[in-house]
Symmetry: C2
């Protein structure tokens, strides 16, 4: 990586709540900001709040036809309208028109996307990869200035995988994921944490736009390496639960031969990998359908070069 | 009340999981028992496990048409089949035929009903009223013998209200409610607690059937007095969340002028009642639709007379 990078100041920033229609912190925050946008205001850029999946929000479900946050791929975005296609495919093209198009010069400079999980992951920051310079600096700034809880970084893109999330429509993005919070529930504590982290991130953008130079740093982050499915009976029904010793242990080391599942009959199933991993999304409600009991991660330290804005004369 | 009561031994007992199709402890327990019923076996009575709402379980939602656990009233049970009636009304009549009819001599002697809540209520026992002698003795037995967590008693029937829950079809019943657990999630710890409490309750029935005399006792229980709705905007959307100081404080005293809500703009709303109450179901996901932010309860001490079985010669 270069020793120092210059990026253009940001002018258009979007904040999305309700990409998943039953994750309530972001939904009520976005609705609040749509009623009263004052607290999003900064002097050097504009912030647009919006609701990601209005029909799913109305029904208070994750999605209506298919997961919106997996629909921002070239395949879906470049598809032509056909009859009976899932609502979210139509919606993704519309969002891409408004805040993108993805990969184009007209795209929004930055998009925040607000999520909750039923897993005990605390407050964490999702970036596509460590190569996304501005988001990595933003995470570093949040970790230093938002001290109410640690905010680990989760790098979600598998090697070679195309970005598929809603904020990939903008030039850069950051997703917040706060938990544990049941679906369809809003907890005041997580609501205020999410609000404060967004305020902190907007402050970072303001400083960046106004010419602050952010020095290089080293930072720890968790990088996804794969996913672990539930054990199943031959009929496809799950035959085991997340082991009580693994439950609520997101971001903590899982070593070879540690228990990971307990069958309904009471037997233990051990982790058969050869190396220590760091699980996340342990026992997330929405992931039963996706056949994911937890996500496997490795912990790495990355060197991030300095950043400043290349101010337009 | 009489100083001592004699009741007939129980011969037919049912255990229902999945009355609500997204409360997973009872669903996976019932499915497990349907595969392997051995652990339910006792010498003096038969236990039948069953799934309450199969279509809701299939879809992993609380219900398909209307809340099954509010459908066991005379109005619904005595209705004649009409086109396009909600699935749960048809289902309630079927369950009433199999395990009832409600109020008849042919009805099952006892029905357990297994639930989860997203509220931080721990493990508690739901009985219609303190006048249900056998369930109150069962609760007392559980409180003395199941020591892993306190098991407060929740008396759910408002004065003059008809019973409406699934276990009202049997001659007597007990519902278990364990939380917090998100909808659509099974936690191994709550699963094993629910299984152990059922085992303990079956042991109680076995002792009762075999002639054990259960002496009179005094017992504390929480009795519902009303419900508290969320504050709303004029369009009906909620305008406030459960206050962080009330969140997770189920069964603890709430005093006049204690904060109960926090608006999305940050203002506090205080409790305006005149007496101390004990809230339950605080921030339960399924109750937003029912306009219930929490249930109001009073704490009482009841004198329960002795109980023994009137053994058939």
């Amino acid at each position: 990586m270069a020793a120092s990078c210059h990026l253009k100041p940001l002018s258009c920033v979007a904040v999305c709540g309700g990409t998943h229609g039953n994750e309530m912190s972001g939904i009520y925050l976005a609705k609040h900001w749509l009623r009263d946008p004052m607290e999003l205001q900064r002097s050097s850029f504009a912030v647009t709040p919006f609701l990601g999946n209005p029909r799913a929000i109305e029904k208070c479900v994750r999605y209506v036809g298919q997961d919106l946050n997996r629909t921002f791929t070239t395949e879906f975005l470049s598809s032509t309208e056909v009859e009976d296609e899932p609502y979210e495919v139509v919606l993704a093209r519309e969002i891409n028109q408004t805040y993108g198009p993805k990969g184009s010069a007209q795209a929004f400079d930055f998009m925040f996307d607000l999520h909750n999980t039923t897993a005990s992951m605390g407050t964490y920051l999702i970036v596509d990869s460590e190569e996304s310079l501005l988001p990595m600096h933003m995470c570093h700034y949040i970790q230093m200035h938002y001290t109410r809880s640690p905010c680990p970084i989760y790098l979600y893109k598998l090697p070679g995988e195309e970005t598929y999330s809603i904020n990939s429509v903008a030039k850069a993005g950051l997703a917040l994921e706060l938990g544990p919070q049941p679906q369809q529930v809003v907890r005041a504590d997580l609501f205020s944490q999410m609000r404060d982290i967004i305020a902190c991130a907007l402050d970072f953008i303001e400083l960046f736009n106004k010419g602050t130079v952010f020095p290089a740093f080293e930072i720890e982050a968790y990088k996804i390496t794969g996913r672990m499915d539930y054990p199943c009976y031959p009929d496809g029904e799950i035959s085991a639960m997340v082991h009580p010793k693994l439950q609520d242990k997101d971001f903590l080391p899982l070593n070879p031969r540690d228990p990971i599942f307990q069958t309904f009959s009471g037997e233990e199933i051990l982790y058969e990998g050869n190396t220590t991993i760091y699980p996340a999304f342990i026992n997330e409600a929405a992931y039963y359908k996706k056949k994911v009991a937890f996500v496997k991660m490795e912990k790495h330290t990355f060197s991030i070069p300095a950043l400043s804005s290349s101010r337009v004369a």
